[in-house]
């Protein structure tokens, strides 16, 4: 395979990249299927849907190759040297190639885009996974993570994580729990792009050097070196067993606790680290480009006076700012209309609001017993066990990250550790932009459709925007001391029964009883849909979805047919809840 890939690499100068059938879809020997799941947890179509997405990823990768071939010759000039005129396009194209390259996973079967496709606003592309197991299958089928793939539209705009001492609040970072801080590259988005390739339950490379190795074997070496300099991807003396190591999913017992199993000299390790940084920076450049984050929604046109909102959209916007209080966290850069009929005379603070405060909050989502993470309690064939605690695991979000706790990442700042109890249960306030993005074939997230099934919030418990708004509106109107799947007879979960929060600590009370009518909820949904990019210019690759749309039912109860009863929960694992500083109050 190595020979084949090398043959398919750069074959001409300037910049001619050959598209080699099959070269980007290698099929190395895979370990046996890992399936610790009770019947019904894995969706029946998970294999075919994973293959479907891989086909779509391949098609966009070929598109990126063609775009790379179409780049004009580089004209490096100036001091510091700059690719005059084409540098921006070149790095964006490089990032796109990387984003859709399945070779960047241990078993060469998964790209970043496998969990983040454009037609889902760069969120999860498989409706049945969004409906059920929530976390996506990784390179080693069927290991899976624990949370929904967070949309990365506009994620490059998040600043490096900081504790604002004036406000005593965390601000910025990437990921639901903020673990991509940006402390090294000062770009949490670039650092975010570094995590999944080496996450044992995602793309599964066992060593960050494997990124440098696989890039050096890729079809776009010339693009990389055009952006980052001649020789920037070569010169490392790779051990003869490098591919063998990189093709072994991380977490394998054979690695023990060694996170750098590729044996490199200090100089070569440093080179590999630099390439790994360039990987993150290039992917981030793509994510910030107009291909991902274009500010092309109806709302953006409205702000420029080039779109007139419908009656419902405008009513929804006023509710978003007023009675719904949504813009207390999803900042819209405008003033607030609070009273019915009152005219908003405020001036736009900016023309491109991101609809987030970059903060972290606990909205009180119930534990979702369908989350695949709870079932990965036994070792796979490589000796890796994702979650030894099973249902003893509790997702404390940012609190666990600040403790450098199980399932997150090491915190790089010990001064933040004492903040953990104040951050337990909190997750990032995502941009509301593109929450409603769906493929053009099934252009809504809402039943009866035809619709594209999404999962909302960190654990995917919510299945439609209608449910999302209804949750904010009535969480504290219909609270029941039960877990999901156990609502009392005569009630309907997510309609007039909300199970108790997974984590009560730090529960945000800005919302929970908004007093919105059913019509007003629908109007806010209508407004949220104006935040979908692609109105002023078509959104690239929004039509690449080749799966099936869903139809029928009601947005209020969408997905309720897949609810299952949460088992009796054991106490919170000491791996999570006994790590100092302890949660306050203690988490049962």
């Amino acid at each position: 395979m190595k020979v084949l890939l090398q043959t398919c690499a750069v074959v001409a100068v300037p910049l001619l990249l050959v598209s080699c059938s099959g070269a980007n879809a290698a099929d190395p020997a895979s370990p046996p299927i890992y399936n610790p799941y009770p019947s019904g947890i894995l969706p029946a179509d998970v294999a075919s849907e994973t293959a479907r997405v891989q086909g779509e990823v391949q098609s966009i990768f070929q598109q990126a190759l063609a775009e790379a071939n179409a780049l004009p010759p580089a004209n490096v000039t100036g001091q510091p040297p700059t690719q005059q005129g084409s540098g921006y396009r070149a790095i964006m194209t490089l990032g796109k190639l990387m984003n859709y390259d399945v070779n960047m996973s241990a078993l060469k079967n998964m790209a970043c885009a496998s969990c983040h496709m454009p037609y889902a606003g760069f969120g999860g592309p498989i409706p049945s996974v969004n409906l059920t197991m929530v976390a996506y299958p990784g390179t080693y089928h069927f290991r899976a993570g624990k949370r929904t793939p967070q949309r990365y539209t506009y994620s490059p705009y998040f600043p490096a994580l900081q504790l604002d001492n004036t406000a005593n609040a965390f601000f910025g970072g990437n990921f639901w729990d903020g673990r991509s801080t940006g402390y090294l590259l000062q770009s949490p988005d670039a650092e975010q792009a570094q995590h999944p390739p080496v996450d044992s339950q995602e793309m599964g490379l066992p060593d960050t050097a494997c990124i440098a190795w696989r890039l050096s074997q890729s079809q776009y070496v010339a693009v990389f070196e055009r952006v980052w300099g001649a020789g920037s991807l070569t010169g490392i003396s790779w051990p003869s067993n490098t591919e063998q190591i990189c093709a072994t999913p991380g977490g394998a017992a054979t690695f023990g606790t060694n996170v750098t199993p590729v044996s490199l000299s200090p100089v070569d390790r440093n080179r590999a680290n630099v390439i790994f940084d360039h990987w993150g920076q290039s992917v981030s450049a793509f994510e910030k480009s107009v291909e991902v984050s274009p500010f092309s929604s109806k709302f953006d046109a409205y702000m420029k006076g080039k779109y007139t909102m419908t009656t419902d959209e405008l009513a929804g916007y006023n509710l978003f700012k007023g009675k719904g209080n949504c813009n207390s966290c999803h900042l819209d850069g405008r003033g607030t209309t609070l009273s019915p009929g009152q005219t908003d005379t405020s001036t736009a603070a900016q023309v491109n609001p991101l609809f987030t405060c970059f903060g972290y909050t606990n909205e009180g989502l119930p534990l979702n017993p369908r989350d695949a993470f709870y079932y990965q309690t036994t070792p796979d064939s490589l000796g890796f066990t994702a979650n030894p605690d099973g249902f003893g695991y509790r997702d404390l979000g940012m609190g666990t990250f600040l403790r450098s706790g199980f399932g997150s990442a090491p915190s790089p700042n010990a001064e933040w550790t004492s903040q953990a109890p104040l951050r337990d249960g909190r997750f990032q306030v995502s941009s509301a932009r593109n929450a409603g993005m769906a493929p053009s074939q099934c252009p809504t997230t809402e039943a009866p459709g035809p619709y594209f099934q999404k999962g909302f919030f960190h654990n995917g418990y919510i299945k439609s925007l209608k449910q999302l708004v209804h949750f904010y509106n009535t969480r504290d109107v219909y609270p029941f001391p039960v877990t999901s799947g156990h609502c009392p007879a005569g009630t309907t979960e997510k309609v007039d029964c909300w199970p108790m929060p997974e984590v009560k600590n730090n529960l945000d009370m800005t919302v929970g009883k908004l007093g919105l009518t059913d019509l007003e909820e629908n109007q806010i949904v209508a407004f949220l849909q104006t935040l979908t990019d692609g109105y002023t210019v078509p959104y690239p690759n929004v039509s690449t979805f080749t799966g099936q749309c869903s139809t029928g039912g009601s947005a209020s109860t969408q997905g309720n047919e897949t609810l299952i009863a949460t088992p009796t929960l054991p106490p919170c694992s000491s791996n999570v809840c006994a790590i100092p500083p302890l949660p306050n109050p203690a988490i049962p």
């Binding site: 406000a167 910025g172 207390s328 900042l331 607030t336 491109n352 504290d476 001391p481 730090n506 945000d508």
Partner: protein
């Protein structure tokens, strides 16, 4: 450099910094602290069930840090409000008033509790709200006081002790 030109250059530099920093443009600084924070809608019981009790009240917008906490000091003895519950909320700088809601988890059933309220910035700085002591009685096991308080149940404000 003449003063008008200096002013122009200074303005341009500041504008350039703001424009080139989308984050700075996205999140406003904390609002100016209100000179006095007053309750405009008295504290009351929003709901109570066996596992959850919620107290709510409304003040003028206190300003200060956007991340705020509603605070309820409570107990079964009006002279000894020895327990405290805090719930985070986020101020909306565009709203003239702020509604605080605080959760009290797992209170004793059929028990009368006394309480007073305050609010504070995320730094712990109190808003200095002056609240009367009020009381409520929790429902029995399996009972629920609905989201809208029923006549004769729930909040009965009383004079400060």
């Amino acid at each position: 450099m003449t003063r008008p030109i200096l002013k122009l250059v200074t303005t341009a530099v500041i504008a350039a910094v703001i424009v080139s920093n989308p984050v700075a443009a996205q999140v406003p600084p904390p609002a100016k602290k209100a000179r006095r924070v007053q309750i405009v809608k008295a504290p009351e019981l929003e709901m109570a069930a066996g596992h959850l009790t919620i107290i709510t009240w409304t003040t003028n917008n206190p300003g200060g840090t956007d991340d705020h906490y509603g605070v309820v000091h409570y107990g079964t003895d009006p002279k000894n409000l020895n327990k405290t519950a805090k719930s985070p909320i986020r101020l909306n700088q565009g709203h003239p008033t702020t509604t605080f809601r605080v959760r009290l988890d797992d209170l004793e059933s059929r028990t009368t509790y006394y309480y007073r309220v305050d609010s504070e910035e995320s730094t712990g700085r109190s808003d200095g709200v002056k609240s009367l002591i009020s009381k409520f009685t929790t429902p029995g096991s399996g009972e629920r006081i609905p989201a809208s308080p029923q006549p004769g149940r729930g909040v009965q404000p009383m004079a400060r002790q």
